[in-house]
Subunit: 250 residues, 2 copies
């Protein structure tokens, strides 16, 4: 089996924004699905891990797009494991389709960092303990992923409170946590459509710090950190930070 997995998706009409381009949240969802398909087919997917009380936990996701696929466009999300350590693996993505002449067209890239936890204790566990470190057989260290790694999102204490939302039924996943993809949507909703008419979201980065649950009120604090660059801190009702996100608009 190829070390790199490639999965076809389509920019479905109801997954596209006012401009007819795929929403960043749905692109994130496609990447997470690709990761799941890839790992499942290679013996270290969520479904198998559940049987041994382990689970992958997404720690960081960074997506950088030159262009978002337009409505009805088919594209492939390629994914591979760039490196694996005891407590973290780096998984990359490349989004690729075809231009009008049938030539390869690269839409963008993604990078993600995953930990593995024991689902009873919720503590990190040794990734290499799974099938005698079999994940090492799947490492691809020579495929290019020419976007920056998601670093620590630095924010000062002066970030401005922008809005707060209640979380509801549709925000919660099977673990009872706020759905990773929904966070992306909520962050993007901090900007108006008028803003999106003038700016393109080139890069989106999110670090998942602590879990939030249904009924948690999420408060969003925003700080401009450069030209078109913004950082967002999401804080739950009890004051704990749940996520930190960084966006670059061009």
């Amino acid at each position: 089996m190829d070390k790199i997995g490639s999965y076809e998706f389509m920019a479905e009409p109801f997954h596209c924004d006012f401009s007819g381009r795929l929403f960043m949240g749905h692109m994130g969802n496609h990447m997470l699905n690709a990761a799941d398909f890839h790992s499942s087919a290679r013996g270290f997917g969520m479904k198998y891990l559940m049987t041994i009380k382990r689970s992958w936990v997404l720690s960081r996701l960074a997506i950088e797009m030159e262009e978002m696929p337009a409505q009805y466009t088919k594209f492939n999300v390629e994914t591979w494991v760039e490196s694996a350590m005891r407590f973290f693996t780096n998984r990359n993505f490349r989004v690729v389709g075809a231009d009008e002449n049938g030539n390869e067209k690269i839409y963008g890239y993604g990078r993600s960092v995953w930990a593995m936890i024991d689902t009873d204790t919720r503590q990190p566990t040794d990734i290499f303990s799974i099938d005698d470190g079999a994940i090492k057989n799947w490492i691809v260290d020579d495929k290019e992923c020419p976007i920056e790694k998601g670093g620590r999102v630095k924010m000062s204490d002066t970030a401005e409170f922008v809005s707060a939302i209640e979380t509801h039924y549709n925000d919660v996943d099977i673990n009872g946590h706020i759905n990773s993809v929904k966070y992306i949507e909520h962050v993007l909703d901090l900007w108006s459509i008028d803003w999106y008419k003038e700016h393109r979201l080139k890069r989106f980065e999110i670090a998942y710090v602590a879990e939030a649950h249904e009924g948690d009120k999420l408060s969003f604090y925003r700080e401009q950190t450069g030209e078109g660059e913004y950082c967002v801190r999401i804080v739950r009702s009890d004051g704990t930070e749940t996520c930190r996100s960084k966006l670059l608009f061009v």
Copy 2:
């Protein structure tokens, strides 16, 4: 080509609720995609209609499920045109998969009503004017769809105000209108997870009355009309009713 189209989908992890079952909003989305694939392959899809300044407009959607597909389950959405009149067509859906023995398993059904509009005038147009009434060649009037048609949702003036939401970037579709699928999510969010732990949503029905746009504040009014039966009216900022929905919990 078969008059009935059948399209495979999977209950993706991030499309499943706390109980590990597909969200009703995503089921609605899959049905609308199936409708689009079916009509496009048969010469009367959205993409073709755009070229002649016509568009399908979803008027009503009713979904009734015996069971929602569980996380990672593959299922097919079948769709066919039950009848076509000058200004409306009825399109049905059947959601079908396999049980553990490989036998057919019916998850549920859907019914929808569509109008066709002139995209310049936004007025209804004659469906039979497309390709000399070609849609009539695709009618299937003998395939069973054993769920009630969506009727007029009757509500009194005493419906209680439940909540109001601002609409944002992720709510808006390519036409600048609030996304039909997002309305479903917003309605379902009126009930708490505790409610969903005790009740299963068996039937969901929505009638799209008038369009709402980004920035519109949507107010939700709810009325109990029977045992487990609720009607919801969605009203936009200027007081105009945009949708009416009916839900049956069991």
